[in-house]
């Protein structure tokens, strides 16, 4: 490890342009409006369906841009996906019980 990371600046650092972040923010606000609008105008299946599609999309935008995952080394994305996959699998296995009672 000695001297391997002695200089912090050697690590590539990406500064995301402010304009792009504002664009992401606008998209997030619009997507929120769409979800809320759908649930008010079409309560029930459609509203929930829209929320189920749009919410992960919003999460992805936050993760990729606000949280810089798009610009990090791939290992960060892999780690995140691993954690998410485990949560999803655990949730799924739980429903082997609750969907078949």
């Amino acid at each position: 490890m000695h001297d391997a990371h002695a200089t912090a600046h050697a690590e590539h650092e990406h500064i995301v342009p402010d304009g792009l972040q504002v664009l992401i923010w606008i998209s997030l606000m619009l997507l929120t409006l769409i979800t809320a609008g759908a649930s008010i105008l079409f309560p029930g299946r459609v509203g929930i369906g829209v929320a189920m599609v749009v919410t992960p999309l919003k999460a992805a935008l936050i993760l990729m841009f606000f949280m810089h995952l798009k610009y990090e080394k791939p290992v960060f994305r892999w780690m995140f996906l691993t954690a998410m996959a485990i949560l999803a699998v655990v949730m799924g296995l739980t429903f082997f019980d609750y969907s078949h009672r």
């Binding site: 691993t82 699998v89 296995l93």
Partner: protein, 558 residues
């Protein structure tokens, strides 16, 4: 710590850093000496030792509780304690042994001391966080101990805190679950630290597949600690809220489902049994090549099987719940998945035996413990298949068979693995050799005592003896008696081992840097290592189990 200061006797130097060849027992810079220099240390080796002393103490308390339970079970009828006290005994024994000893044990003690050495690093990635996690551990331990005396009395729910009984009992469950929550936090911090250390601080030229296998074991373990522990954390918080405010999640009277508590509890607590066993398996993978003086067989298979066990470990928690009223679908799915665990475990055992095959075997104490691990853990694993199969599970659920099974895996696996590692790295940690004769005698007593204690449990479990009962029918008298005799033999062995190690840490012969002929990096520094581990920072360590040089220097035979 007395042993520590003794080991450094005569060396008052305070130099450190590259080129320094003193010992980490020497007082560090900054004028801190004695106890204070330990309580403020960020040295991973010193922190590991502080864990060792704390956990060793709790382990002995847990052993004492176990002995008392066995004593009560020596004869049918109630002799020494009442039923209520017996309930608190098995709860305490479980809480102490699981939360304070076996879960954090190997990573916190040997992981802390050995991981940076094996990686060729000066310390872990976050040394101050490492010290913090020790304090968090001690805080959790303090809460756990307080819960025994304060308020409504010692918890009597068993270590699993199953709802709805844990919601209703007047005993001090609230404080105990918060203690477990805090202890989990300590475990998470250690896991985060180790993952980062392994990713960032490997010696120059040491790829992931050039890491010693103990590091792989710790890597898999740390991922479980980070990903699974928060789930039990929130579960225990919900249990706490349920008891204090009443939120109804696990209360059937309010539409809650007590089985959901069991799901959430085992989503963490099954993966966590691999937190106990994976580092122990790593230790075995270190010891066998050294004492067979032969490269490890199937390095990648062993490394990957650790990761596979960690992964599959998330899929099988339902096998703790076959009789509680889960859906039939869930039962067969979990039963099927449970059998998958046997595959990576079988791969490991096959590779270990193949490593010994045609090796130049030296039957030293660490190897004897390692072989004991393989023997006992195989019994534990095979009885695990009996539990995993739905049909047989119904018969042996909640019987002494289960108690026997998990002691074979947890104690026979993780516990014996810890003993093996302690003896293996003892010369490195303390710079002194343990007394070989006493260690052999202790090993013999532990091996015999262990089997005499736990094997009868398997037998009487199949006969129908329920677990957690303070009394029993006369037909179970003989196995109970044998089992209690075994507990005395085992206790004698443990006491002898502890006395021997404590004495040897002070008075043992000076140890050479590489007493066993190991090839991994920790054997290339002095015993005990200097404060920043290496006088010369290692680079390009190559194959961790290449014995060519050791054989050239010391010969193939013994």
């Amino acid at each position: 710590m007395a042993a520590a200061s003794d080991a450094s006797a005569g060396t008052a130097t305070i130099h450190t850093g590259p080129g320094y060849t003193g010992s980490y027992f020497d007082p560090p810079l900054g004028g801190r000496t004695g106890l204070w220099s330990w309580l403020t240390t960020t040295d991973h080796k010193r922190i590991g030792l502080m864990y060792l002393y704390a956990m060793g103490t709790f382990f002995l308390v847990g052993v004492a509780l176990g002995i008392m339970m066995r004593l009560e079970l020596l004869n049918p009828g109630m002799q020494y304690v009442d039923h209520r006290t017996y309930n608190t005994f098995f709860t305490l024994h479980g809480v102490i042994m699981i939360f304070l000893f076996i879960v954090p044990g190997i990573p916190a003690i040997l992981g802390n001391i050995i991981l940076p050495l094996q990686l060729g690093a000066e310390d872990v990635s976050f040394p101050r966080l490492n010290l913090l996690s020790w304090y968090v551990y001690m805080a959790g331990a303090f809460m756990a101990v307080t819960s025994l005396f304060a308020g409504g009395g010692t918890p009597d729910t068993g270590w699993t805190f199953y709802a709805p009984y844990s919601l209703r009992t007047g005993t001090n469950v609230s404080l105990a679950v918060m203690a477990a929550f805090v202890l989990g936090f300590s475990s998470i911090l250690t896991g985060m630290n180790f993952i980062t250390t392994i990713h960032r601080l490997r010696a120059k030229g040491m790829g992931f597949f050039r890491m010693p296998l103990f590091c792989w074991g710790l890597y898999a373990t740390s991922w479980i600690q980070v990903i699974a522990t928060p789930v039990v954390g929130i579960t225990l918080v919900l249990l706490f809220m349920e008891r204090t405010v009443g939120i109804g999640f696990f209360d059937p009277a309010r539409g809650g489902d007590p089985i959901l508590y069991q799901h959430l509890f085992w989503i963490y607590s099954h993966p966590v049994v691999y937190v106990m066993i994976l580092p122990a398996m790593g230790i075995i993978s270190e010891i066998l090549p050294v004492f067979a003086r032969r490269t490890i067989f199937g390095y990648k298979a062993i490394a990957m099987s650790s990761m596979a066990i960690a992964g599959v470990g998330y899929l099988v928690w339902g096998h703790h719940m076959f009789t509680v009223g889960m859906s039939d679908t869930a039962r067969w799915v979990f039963s099927l998945l449970t059998f998958l665990v046997a595959i990576p475990t079988g791969i490991k055992i096959f590779n270990w035996v193949a490593t010994l095959y045609k090796g130049s075997i030296a039957a030293e104490v660490p190897l004897l413990y390692a072989a004991t691990f393989i023997f006992l853990f195989s019994i534990g694993g095979l009885t695990g298949l009996v539990n995993g199969a739905l049909s047989t599970n119904i018969h042996i659920h909640d019987t002494a068979f289960i108690v026997g099974h998990f002691h074979y895996t947890m104690f026979g696996g993780a516990g014996i693995g810890l003993f093996a590692g302690l003896h293996h790295w003892f010369p490195k940690i303390f710079g002194r050799m343990f007394n070989r004769k006493a260690a052999l005698a202790a090993w013999g007593l532990i091996f015999v005592g262990f089997n005499v204690l736990y094997f009868p449990m398997l037998v009487m479990g199949i006969m129908g003896m329920p677990r957690r009962y303070a009394d029993y029918l006369p037909e179970y008298h003989l196995p109970h008696m044998i089992s209690t005799f075994g507990s005395w033999i085992l206790a004698a062995g443990i006491v002898l081992m502890v006395v021997n190690l404590v004495r040897s840490a002070r008075h043992g012969e000076r140890a050479p840097d590489n007493p066993w002929g190991g090839t991994t990096l920790e054997w290339q520094t002095t015993s005990p290592p200097p404060q920043l581990n290496f006088a010369k920072v290692p680079e390009n360590p190559g194959d961790p189990y290449d014995f060519t040089r050791i054989i050239a220097e010391r010969g193939q035979g013994r």
